[in-house]
């Protein structure tokens, strides 16, 4: 029985063809297939609107916004955490850095401030969760509303509207091949993160902490630091998402970013990252982000009442988590 398990595990690997088969049957593979089917269905049903240029470009930027933040969210959920405050981080970083942008401050400097604010807010979350030890959901529910309050105070009843067009020109309208710069940057970050997660020591620590926190501590891994850096990176990447989002619609309001956390968490969960930690990939989250963006796009392209957005997103999340829940049930056997 035991040696049998060993043998069955050894059977993996093999020829490239078999590897392809295995990939297609893995979660990422299945998601990719689902994604293609969904895309094809929407395109056909909307008589080709999906693949029209204007829509595609918008879709690409939307994917970039969600995907870049989902990289960070993956890190956090990998360590068995969660962050529902990132909508507030989008809002506050946009509010602070947006004022610099309209004041004519150097654009690069302003973008630097953007990232710094995101990083700082993420750090606050990380420290509260891992050093002060307040459960992640409580911490981030609280900081979510605190960040939002700060957005209101920063903006003081006025929207920031005169964002330089250079931002849009660069991140949205400049294209490399057919991809807007924001998406190219996101993909670059994604590849970097993927390499980091699979091929570096630090990356594996995230998995280790989520897989077995106690063992990680005993292995001499600084568990608190790893967790904190997850939240900090999420904050930073959320700021990047905020920049893309601002480039796409150059106006900062009090409610800028609200609800963003739900979209990103949905993307990450869809991508196969498990809430219990230790399992998941940033690549999966990218696919999840594309699916979420597609669902939202499809609702409009197919002229469905936009109210269905929520219902569909809820159903997709539930179906996806249910599938992994059922897999767990099967693994645990009869109990």
């Amino acid at each position: 029985m035991k040696s049998e398990r060993l043998r069955s595990a050894r059977r993996s690997g093999g020829s490239p063809g078999r590897r392809l088969g295995q990939f297609l049957l893995s979660r990422e593979g299945l998601l990719l297939i689902f994604l293609l089917l969904l895309g094809a269905a929407i395109d056909i049903a909307s008589s080709g609107s999906l693949l029209r240029f204007a829509n595609l470009n918008n879709l690409f930027v939307n994917v970039a916004v969600v995907a870049v933040a989902s990289i960070g969210m993956t890190l956090v959920i990998l360590t068995a955490g969660i962050d529902v405050s990132i909508g507030g981080i989008v809002g506050l970083s946009s509010a602070i850095a947006g004022q610099l942008l309209t004041n004519g401050t150097n654009v690069l400097l302003s973008l630097g401030v953007f990232l710094a604010v995101g990083l700082a807010l993420g750090l606050v979350n990380g420290i509260l969760v891992s050093y002060v030890r307040i459960p992640a959901i409580i911490t981030t529910l609280a900081t979510k509303s605190i960040f939002r309050m700060l957005v209101f105070l920063t903006l003081g009843g006025v929207w920031i509207s005169s964002i330089p067009f250079r931002l849009t020109n660069f991140f949205v309208l400049t294209r490399i091949w057919i991809l807007p710069v924001s998406l190219v940057l996101t993909l670059a970050l994604l590849i970097a993160a993927s390499v980091l997660m699979t091929h570096t020591r630090t990356g594996r620590w995230f998995y280790a902490v989520g897989d077995n926190e106690e063992a990680a501590r005993l292995s001499g891994i600084n568990v608190r630091l790893v967790k904190t850096s997850g939240y900090a990176l999420l904050g930073l990447l959320t700021a990047v998402a905020a920049i893309f989002s601002l480039a796409e619609s150059p106006l900062v309001q009090n409610n800028t970013g609200s609800g963003f956390e739900l979209t990103v968490i949905a993307a990450v969960i869809l991508g196969g990252t498990e809430l219990s930690g230790g399992r998941g990939t940033v690549l999966g989250s990218l696919i999840g982000a594309v699916i979420v963006a597609l669902v939202q796009d499809g609702v409009i392209l197919l002229h469905i009442q936009p109210f269905w957005n929520g219902v569909l997103l809820g159903a997709v999340i539930l179906a996806s988590v249910a599938s992994s829940g059922l897999r767990l049930l099967r693994q645990r056997g009869a109990r």
Partner: protein, 334 residues
Amino acid sequence: MVGPKRSKVHKVLALAASLAIPLALTASAKTFTIAFVPKLVGIPYFTAMDQGMMRAAKAFSKGGVNLKIIYEGPTTASVSGQDRFVQALVNQGVNAIGVSANSPTALCPLVDKAVKKGLVFYSSDSQVSCASNELQVVQASPKGLGYAAIDVLAKDLGGKGEIAFISAGPTATNLNQWMAYMKQRLKKYPGMKLVSVQYAGESVSQATTIASQLISAYPNLRGIVGVASTIVPGAAQAVLEAGMKGKIAVTGFTDPNSIRPYVKDGVVKQVILWNPTNLGYLTAWGVLQMLEHKAFKAVNNVPGLGKVQYFAKSKELLLGAPMVIDRSNIDLNF
């Protein structure tokens, strides 16, 4: 404390006022506190209204009258939130309280309570439709606004092409009303065809996304009307991104601050609005008239604003015709 005694006094006063006896002359120096609860705080439109009310407070605080404005409201356009602020203010005992309503009927029990307590209740911008509401300050008639938007667009498009509306929330009463008139006006332009009505909430980025998707979904789309101030810039951005500047016309109801870059860039030629600062100013003036028990005439001369119509039947004070904002007056600050 504001007890029943005072409310009786008030009723007597009201009666006296209706008999056109200038009792107000006998009143000594007096502080009037006027509270205004917007749909939500933190958006430029209501901030501008607040500024207008403050300007009026300054202008009219003379001759034994001291006018004080309280401006507070919920941070999201929620009915319960608004209800809470109105309730607290009524209890606090201001002289007049008004709202830009998130729901035309939800506040009715509170309006009754306030009026019974002897407070003046009014609505401005978005109205409360209860019998006991004492004054409605209307920015422009919904009909005027709806017609103006379509007329502006028709001029731009030469009266033909597919068009779409993007509104904020499907629950916003006034926006729905404007859209109804917009649809009515469309009958005048048979060449223009409404192909889609979408809702983008209060967020610009959502508006951009939805407009982009509309542009893809309807390749022959020639015009977009944004029915709320957040929507027009979002739609303009989408047109810009899609490279359809000059091919798709964007207009709608929005303020100069939000749309300025797009008007200067030329993506947007004209938008429709009224001046919210003036609306706030007029609101404060109108409420003050009621507090001082001065009756409205059919046409009133408002100091610093000019002639303003009053419709006694609907208790409506009308700011005036819609204002068209284009390159010439885009530098107005509100």
